[in-house]
């Protein structure tokens, strides 16, 4: 196979290996943390005087593995078979709860994330193309104010203003993304080849599309991957406070009710999604770099 074809495969394999390692480490750390949580392994059914000693022993055996590694292995094995555990607080299988709610989260997350990125790119581009300090300063000030408002409070305000929940995600992500895209685009403006293009009379719009965007694409891809985690955090707050029945609201309820099996599954699933986006962004950035 020629090197040009082998490199993308190697990059993707490396990214996949890093993803699997990250997931295994995250899962193991999660399992260990759960075992350290006060109250872990306690089951009120063990206090039921109607149960025989053998039944109580069976319950204990069922809940407490001797080692974290054994517990983790069992968790992985069950997850592979589609069993994500049972929610104690909601008295239903975790998989069923997730299946009912994931669509809401996906809609809020990606509408908000997409809107934020579209807005940030358009405003940054307009500021650069029009060379307008007014556009840049007003957007910077707006982003600065939003950065000073906790996402949960923003969700409060959006709920009161009856705006959709994805607006919270859009605002939170926009504020963070805009600052970086604006800095990137303005930084790229002083690159020698862009100065040369401007000196030759190339229009600002063409300079932006042909030169600035391509010069900053790697950073934008990396930022896109990282901003998914920001969007997920905002989604949790938005769902919890805007009463949206998604996975974020479920995670919040699980935390309030100390429903550890549900929280472990949700942390693992949501963590997997953000890690996939991050590793995919890393792989794309690496592919854009010239081969050594």
């Amino acid at each position: 196979m020629p090197d040009s074809k082998r490199r993308p495969v190697a990059v993707l394999l490396r990214a996949a290996a890093r993803l699997v390692m990250s997931l295994l480490i995250t899962g193991f750390m999660t399992t260990c943390m759960i075992r350290l949580a006060p109250g872990f392994g306690a089951d009120e059914r063990e206090l039921d005087s109607r149960l025989s000693a053998a039944s109580i022993d069976e319950l204990k055996r069922d809940r407490n593995d001797a080692h974290a590694a054994a517990s983790y292995y069992r968790l992985l094995k069950n997850a592979a078979a589609g069993d994500l555990g049972f929610s104690e607080a909601l008295n239903r299988p975790v998989l069923e709860l997730i299946q009912q709610r994931y669509a809401t989260t996906v809609r809020i997350l990606f509408l908000g994330w997409g809107l934020a990125w579209t807005g940030a790119l358009i405003v940054s581009a307009v500021g650069v193309i029009l060379q307008s300090p007014a556009v840049r300063l007003s957007a910077t000030a707006a982003a600065g104010v939003v950065l000073c408002i906790p996402s949960a409070l923003l969700a409060y305000l959006c709920y009161l203003a009856r705006t959709p929940a994805f607006a919270v995600v859009a605002l939170v992500v926009f504020a963070r993304v805009f600052r970086v895209t604006d800095n990137l685009f303005r930084g790229a403006q002083s690159m020698p080849h862009i100065l040369a293009a401007r000196a030759q009379g190339v229009s600002e719009r063409k300079i932006f599309v042909r030169h600035i965007l391509s010069a900053t694409l790697a950073e934008l891809i990396a930022l896109a991957g990282a901003s998914v985690a920001i969007a997920v955090s905002a989604t949790i707050a938005a769902e919890a406070l805007c009463d949206q029945p998604g996975l974020g609201q479920l995670a919040w309820k699980a935390a309030l009710g100390r429903d550890l099996p549900l929280l472990v599954s949700l942390t693992f699933i949501i963590g997997t999604v953000t890690l996939v986006f991050n590793r995919a962004a890393d792989a794309l950035v690496e592919l854009r770099r010239p081969a050594a």
């Binding site: 480490i25 906790p150 009161l160 953000t274």
Partner: protein, 273 residues
């Protein structure tokens, strides 16, 4: 001096003034507040602002201004403490990655990448749920800010590692190594001095992050528990009804948090200039 520099200096001066005033008032909350944070005026629950209660009272008849002053003291003291803890943890991993390198360094960076890829609020919810929720207020304050410190270290590790790796190759460090200086002494004496500005910048960057995180936890009901106030727990007392348009004083904690965070942004503007 250019106009931009003048504006920056003016913003910084204003930020220092406003932050100093808020910090000073919150530190003397015991003296400056008209009442204790848990003192109830049972004859005046939900009272509007008056001479006796400048920001009114909450549903339990507690003076909102007093609670705001005490709450800002909790947040403004503990956010820097959490930032110091997170900076110390980040520095430890930064030393592993930047000074020692090798397997330990790679593991430190891999751990940093993994943790920083996770949504911060989800991690906080997860870690907070691990610990008992029904605890004494003082314990809940400790838990909240220890968690923030213990989970917020990731942002600085790569910066520290790069700064330490740069300092490790400096001439004076090589000379110290050649003279037989032990790694602990080199790191503690020479490397620490070289990365001090990076440490200070990271510490200041983390404070607003932790104030925001504490506010988020408080609003979600997982922060500091009653009756002890913090900026986050006070925000959770804002009623979730459109009626707050008629009683804007209930938004005072949000306004104070906004002012503090804008002040910190103004302060950091100079640092990043």
């Amino acid at each position: 001096m250019t106009g931009q520099m003048r504006a920056r200096r003016w913003t910084r001066g204003l930020s220092i003034g406003v932050l100093g005033m808020i910090f000073g008032l919150s530190m003397i909350a015991d003296v400056a507040a008209p009442a204790g944070y848990e003192t109830q005026f049972r004859e005046a629950p939900g009272a509007p602002p008056s001479r006796q209660f400048p920001l009114g009272t909450d549903e339990l008849g507690r003076d909102r201004l007093s609670r705001l002053l005490h709450g800002s003291r909790v947040s403004l003291l503990l956010a820097p403490a959490a930032a110091a803890l997170a900076t110390a943890l980040g520095l430890t991993l930064g030393i592993a990655a930047g000074y020692f390198g090798g397997m330990a360094g790679r593991a430190a960076l891999a751990l940093t990448d993994t943790v920083s890829s996770m949504p911060s609020l989800l991690l906080l919810l997860f870690a907070r749920a691990m610990l008992p929720l029904n605890v004494a207020p003082a314990v809940s304050v400790t838990i909240t800010f220890l968690l923030l410190g213990a989970l917020g270290w990731t942002s600085g590790v790569r910066v520290f590692a790069a700064a330490i790796a740069g300092a490790r190759d400096a001439e004076f460090v090589r000379q110290a190594v050649a003279l037989g200086c032990r790694p602990g002494r080199i790191v503690g004496l020479h490397i620490a001095a070289a990365v001090r500005p990076v440490l200070a910048a990271q510490f200041w960057i983390l404070i607003p992050m932790f104030l925001l995180a504490e506010a988020n936890l408080g609003i979600l009901g997982l922060g500091v528990s009653e009756p002890l106030p913090s900026l986050g727990s006070l925000l959770s007392e804002i009623p979730l009804t459109t009626a707050i348009g008629g009683q804007p004083w209930v938004l005072a904690p949000a306004a104070l948090l906004l002012i503090v965070l804008l002040g910190l942004q103004g302060l950091l503007m100079k640092e990043s200039a």
